[in-house]
């Protein structure tokens, strides 16, 4: 049975013990937390926008995403082995981790609560169209869905389709259209 009461107190007590034993420094914990409070899906959006405007970069991203993403300065924990999958009018990609909550931290930040929920993890692989309805997303019936279950240390990034009406836009402006969910597959880019 889950003991919900006192979790904050227990976590505080654990930190006390770990500090008293010399295993952690509180300032190091703050430094870790601050990094993950700072990193977010803007990194991924930059990758996607670059991919949209630079055909050679797109090629590198789809061939070796880890290196292509490192070109823009992103990488590290939970982004060691990246794979980018590209949406097309024929196929829509959706990312899940059914077994835990694997997620490309350096590119998208920490996962949203729903990504970690049993509701999402259970349903993504058996009923993704029903699941997408929970996000208000309806795909064309003719568009296939490929779900990627992150069962190893590979982390996936969805490259959504570039919205119409953005011809000639610069990278920075395009990046603003790339919402986080569009890089997981539970959303689409904003259309201007």
């Amino acid at each position: 049975m889950a003991d919900d009461t006192g979790t904050p107190q227990r976590v505080e007590a654990l930190e006390t013990i770990l500090v008293e034993k010399g295993y952690v420094e509180p300032a190091a914990l703050d430094a870790i937390a601050e990094i993950y409070e700072d990193v977010g899906p803007k990194n991924g959006a930059k990758v996607v926008a670059r991919c949209w405007v630079d055909a050679a970069y797109r090629e590198r991203l789809l061939t070796d995403a880890t290196s292509a993403i490192a070109e823009l300065g992103f990488g590290g924990r939970q982004g060691e082995h990246m794979v980018a999958v590209e949406n097309t009018p024929e196929v829509h990609h959706l990312i899940v981790c059914t077994l835990c909550s694997c997620y490309p931290w350096p590119v998208l930040g920490l996962p949203p609560a729903w990504y970690k929920s049993p509701a999402y993890r259970s349903r993504a692989v058996i009923d993704p169209r029903g699941l997408l309805a929970d996000f208000g997303v309806t795909l064309a019936e003719s568009q296939r869905i490929e779900v990627h279950d992150s069962t190893a240390e590979i982390r996936y990034l969805v490259v959504p389709m570039r919205p119409p009406g953005t011809e000639g836009w610069l990278e920075d402006k395009l990046a603003e259209l790339v919402a986080r969910d569009s890089m997981i597959g539970t959303g689409l880019p904003r259309v201007p």
Partner: protein, 219 residues
Amino acid sequence: MNGAADLGGMMGFGPVVVKPDGPPFQAEWERRAHAMVIALGAAGHWSIDASRYARESLPPAEYLTSTYYEIWIKALVKLLIAHGLVDADELASRRSLRPGAKLGRVLRPDEVPAVLAARRPYERPAEAAARYAVGDRVRARNMHPTGHTRLPRYARGKIGVIERLHGVHVLPDSNAHGAGEHPGWLYSVRFAATELWGDDADPTLSVSIDAWESYLQAP
């Protein structure tokens, strides 16, 4: 193991509740819990696979009634005790009662950015050629180990197609239990939903998993 964490295809959890994004941590304790897991993980006493096993082996009722960071902190406590770094009586009295074993590495504040930015790859040099090539049909083994595995139940026994080779990666099944990295070829294997879920499944749907060579056999 066939634990509560292996959720693919389960039903009854209701709709996904999508709320406007808040800060990444919903409370100060979540912030500290996350940081402690990272800091102790960097000490090198256990692998990410051991962490995952510590989480998924929580009793199913506890797993499903705990929040994400509750699961993390419960698993961290299990690992700290199992590795002799913290004792149960210390947790009960909420303070250190004796000097602990020496920690492999204590993360200093100024080291944090470099450590988190560093790649810690799970890829290893190939010592044998890959058995399967893109396009090959393979069957995921029907196996039900009591220990850690990353082959989800829904894929076991099912036939799929090799979609991509990821190189040779550390095998979680052994690494989680301190039994060595036993690196093996890692593949993306794509399964038709009709193969996974039967004739009534969405014919336009496929599901890919990343599977080690030892998870696979000839169809």
